[in-house]
Symmetry: D2
Subunit: 382 residues, 4 copies
């Protein structure tokens, strides 16, 4: 039976003085091993990850563990509790409109000087020093700011400070109405098959403010800089190194399906997939967890396309998620009752490419220009 410790992290204050707090759970293995960070619910409506953390904790109680796991449900107490009408308005700060998952920090300018200064250090020394540098940077931003930082930055930075201390980072999200899919750094392709997720997006590079990027980009950029300077600095498990002599650094955004829903039984399944990945990475001492056999489709991030509605109207979404849809086949039909009698009340929407529909908008009512679908436009089988 593993011991689970709990801490409450203070991440902000509301107008009434009410503290914004986040529970942080930690389990520590008896052996050395990778440190894992898992958070959920950064976007207010994306709640299923909390149930997955529940099921993970239930399982982890009795699994032999190497390293440590830190789990943070309800990561964003503003978004989590922000209602407007029945739904949770939690993708962006209601005051500023800024997406809560675009506020993490990465300062590329630290890479080159660090690489040069530590070119000949051991892997272990590099890892310790670079981790410390990143944590220190975040602490500086949190504590030494004359003009202050935004509500979202304060939340994001505190989470990021925890995440930087880990080797493997999972940020649990959901789509609006969505299939399960995984954002995976391009260099960690091999790991994607250990999750029970049939659709995988490969992120080739670049930082856009999300947690996964904020935690893997520094290591990736460091790897590239070291390569430029002539040093091999592996950060993922490969056929040759098998994780030996490497600092494994991987971050994923795990999209668990649709928002505004909790399903504890599905969460149990989701937890098994994550345990499969953790077993592969040697975090748990077990041979019980294996990825399901399934067709896995992949797509490069730049080929993951949003289709914006060509008209206002009310949408009957037709396309099945996760299955290839032939060019010309309808994704949706849009009802325009105002055109009945003197126009065209029904419009079929299709694309000129074969695509795999991954998610669609959460409501039937769309304006001209609302994001209708996101699709894999050029996909391969993984």
């Amino acid at each position: 039976m593993n011991l689970i410790s709990k801490e409450v992290m203070h991440v902000g204050e509301m107008a009434s003085g009410a503290a914004l707090t986040v529970p942080v759970y930690r389990i520590k293995g008896k052996q050395q091993g990778p440190d894992v960070y898992i958070q959920a619910n950064m976007h207010g409506a994306e709640v299923q990850g909390n149930a997955v953390i529940f099921q993970l904790l239930e399982q982890l109680k009795t699994i032999e563990l190497n390293g440590s796991i830190t789990l943070v449900p309800y990561a964003n107490p503003v978004g989590c509790n922000h209602k407007n009408g029945e739904y949770t308005l939690g993708r962006f700060d209601p005051i500023t409109g800024v997406n809560w998952n675009r506020m993490y920090h990465f300062d590329e300018s630290i890479i080159e000087p660090f690489a040069k200064a530590h070119l000949t250090d051991s892997i272990v020394e590099i890892e310790r020093a670079f981790k410390a540098l990143m944590v220190e940077q975040i602490s500086q931003k949190l504590n030494h700011n004359i003009y202050g930082i935004t509500t979202g930055q304060r939340i994001a930075y505190q989470l990021q400070r925890l995440a930087h201390q880990a080797d493997l980072v999972l940020d649990l999200h959901t789509g609006p109405i969505s299939s399960k899919h995984l954002y995976c750094p391009d260099y960690a392709r091999a790991s994607a098959e250990y999750f029970d997720i049939p659709h995988v997006l490969f992120i080739p590079n670049g930082f856009d403010g999300a947690l996964d990027e904020a935690t893997f980009c520094p290591w990736w950029y460091l790897q590239l800089k070291f390569a430029e300077l002539g040093r091999d600095f592996p950060i993922t498990k490969t056929a040759t190194n098998q994780g030996k002599d490497a600092v494994i650094k991987e971050s994923f955004t795990v999209e668990l399906g649709s928002q505004e829903q909790i399903d504890l039984d599905v969460a149990h399944e989701d937890a098994l997939g994550i345990l499969s990945y953790l077993q592969y990475q040697g975090v748990i001492n077990s041979n019980d967890f294996h990825p399901k056999t399934m067709v896995r489709y992949s797509c490069m991030l730049e080929d993951y396309k949003a289709l914006y509605s060509p008209m206002g109207g009310m949408v009957d979404y037709l396309a099945e998620f996760g299955q290839p849809l032939a060019a010309g086949e309808p994704l949706a039909r849009i009802l325009r009752m105002d055109n009945y009698g003197d126009g065209d009340p029904l419009h079929y929407i299709s694309l000129e490419d074969d695509v795999i529909p991954i998610l669609h908008f959460a409501s039937a009512s769309v304006n001209q220009g609302t994001e209708l679908y996101k699709v894999f436009s050029k996909y391969s089988i993984l």
Copy 2:
């Protein structure tokens, strides 16, 4: 082939001067018969009724018609277009919070004087005069108001003016996440079986501002007053009168399922059920439309109970809609990850009565006191 005429009704103006308009479709039969009024989408997110009107119009093109049918999709252009986040915030005026379906008008004080003045008139004269009186009252409210009327009243009164000219009124709504159910005046029980809707709520009396009540209550109260004064004034079809020598006056709120969804195939089914009722009432000259065979449950309005969440948390809704649930069986389980480790992270919610769950809240995230479920608490088989 019936001719469908279309008109655009101006129901208000936005801050930019943009006109708020509503399309009004009319089909007129060659023979005399009941006049029908059908509207949809008074609540912004309850869009399926628009698709049902589409399917009704498609069918009605070629059905022989008695009387007339007026159909109004997109009845509330403010609610219909009001987004906040991805969802449609359309249950209440975003400025005032007033429920759009609580703004219709009924002035009980007109009943007694009218009944006394028309006690010995013929049924036809009474009908004509009472209709005229109601329409005139609404017109007065729309046009002769020194201090003005609210945005919602202006919309509601214009719809109501159309509805008062009909004999049969259908207001198409949906629940949040919901089974199909029907609000039916208690005196019109016999009609409930002609719809393809398995759950029926009987409204015993009283006016609470909704369109169905605003259109049937005046006639019902008039019937009661006439009865008090010694005159029989039937307003529904019975075994004995078969609708002869009666002014049939019925209004229903038809709850078509869940909000934020358009499904044109389901809408076709929904339209068939409405056509079954219209055939029963002699509006269409056909023998093609018959109610489906199904178990129909009914419940008095006072026994239709809202269950408010006893705690804040995230809800895994368990109970199946429309099926009797035994006392003590769980309706939902509520996850409280913040209690993990030092409290109870999972709470099962049940009731002490046998109930039929009809609908539940649209989001997994609830505050203490959020309406979790609505249930038939004392039900019968119809």
Copy 3:
């Protein structure tokens, strides 16, 4: 130096489990005297009352007190913290649209049996028993509800339970953009002159869900019922009783000006006006606080009219608050740039009566039917 005690009242839970809490401050005098209850910020944007409570506490530290004063700032932690855009969306529950200040409880059916049962009791016995009955009723509603109560009821009932234990109740609100005004029970007219508020609305009767009504209506109805049964039961200070042999029961809604603003200097002035009333009622042992000399206008509640905008547009509010405006003089002009060139871009709005403008809408942008102004339509000088 008076001792101020502080307690934190738990009034609800959010989806994340976060507790909704309200601070409750109490000061107790050394002598017997009236008990006072003062709350602020039931509507989220109406924050000035919190500053007034701050200034009251600062003053009350050193004033000799009879009886006790309970002060509750931030009375509604949901409304208080609910942002949408920059402003605070705090007039109604964001999920249901129900006005937070329409959820208090009053059950008229308790009056007659109580009056009959206690007809010959002493004033002191009646007071104690009736208070206990009301508190018990609220406790029942809070604690013995099978189907639960709404979020707003839970908050309101807990505040009301505190308020029922007091004799004098002040609910501190503000208008949108507003002059200071006071809602005063009709029977307590004499008290209105002790506040520094130039506009007074007299509430003749009736319960509409607000705190002031919920606390004075029971006593008033009891007085009326006793009178019907032949017993005099004074509940306000008069020239003859001077408060002796009477249970003084008064409740006011104090409208402190405009919402979304804190001004501590103005709050100091507002506090002085309240202290003047408390001195008049014998709550404080002082001769330092006297109402300011000013013209005070009064108006019956039924003559307090809302003017709804006759068109959509953008409003230049012209009328000065608190000053009589002659019939025909413009209250506002409405810009309609979309009409420039081919219509009338500027509309002047006036009324056919002399009125006193009291408040206007918080934004220049109005829809047709938005409440533009509230005015005293028939006013007198107090």
Copy 4:
């Protein structure tokens, strides 16, 4: 008397099919001269610009004009009409959170090839060709997009297409609660003194998605590229060229004061300041309009600092706008009633630099991290 023509531009569709339209006014002078584009109300709550366009049109009717002026009030019909509570939620798309004024287009990659291809062309030829290129680019984005464009892009691009056809662009905005200030391209410093605006921000370079940048950056970058290639290509009036042999290209964001307000008298003053600038640029044939004498402060954009609240609470804003505030002097005091009795209920906020406060947040209620103030942190007298 000048002729004002009016056109209605279709910029989108809502879910009900309602067209989103924007009125476009044009006045054409008899002589050649600069073309001017003025728009207002891109952010929904920033309405005063509509009143300024009204007053400009009233004046321009009778002023002799060179060139042409295009005026677009209500530029964003979604934002303009989007209410949530009493206020207008119009800074960002309510569905996506994207700021409406960050969706304009600029593709830097067109500069170098164009400059090389047109290096030896005449100024007039360059101007014609570059304008055509920019207009063509926007048209491509509007009309040839397989996956569509967002609601905000559709609105922004249509406005931008009009703006690219002008030489001088004014985008009328307001702050939340704000002094008047002007965003001015650094190269056009000389023009800043012709507006009646005491605070000027100089934009040194860079494109961040706003209209002013989207229209002046292309010309500025072109100028820089030409300079690099050895050609002088003036785009602003200077002491030596006096506008001869130059294509004058200037764009300004004019911040007119506070949002949610219309004041037609102030708008008249604002219009006079704009006419002063237009006279300076030779757009109007007049000698009647001269800038007011006033102290004008300027600040580089990078020194325009946002101060984020160090705590949640309710703010009494103290600092006067537009006046230098000495280091250490309080900008605001923050009330924290929940700390009364056992903490510090009042916090004074100050800065370590001398600053000029320019605007503050629109509400007293702030979370930790809400933008309290924006200030000129290093300012000069212009």
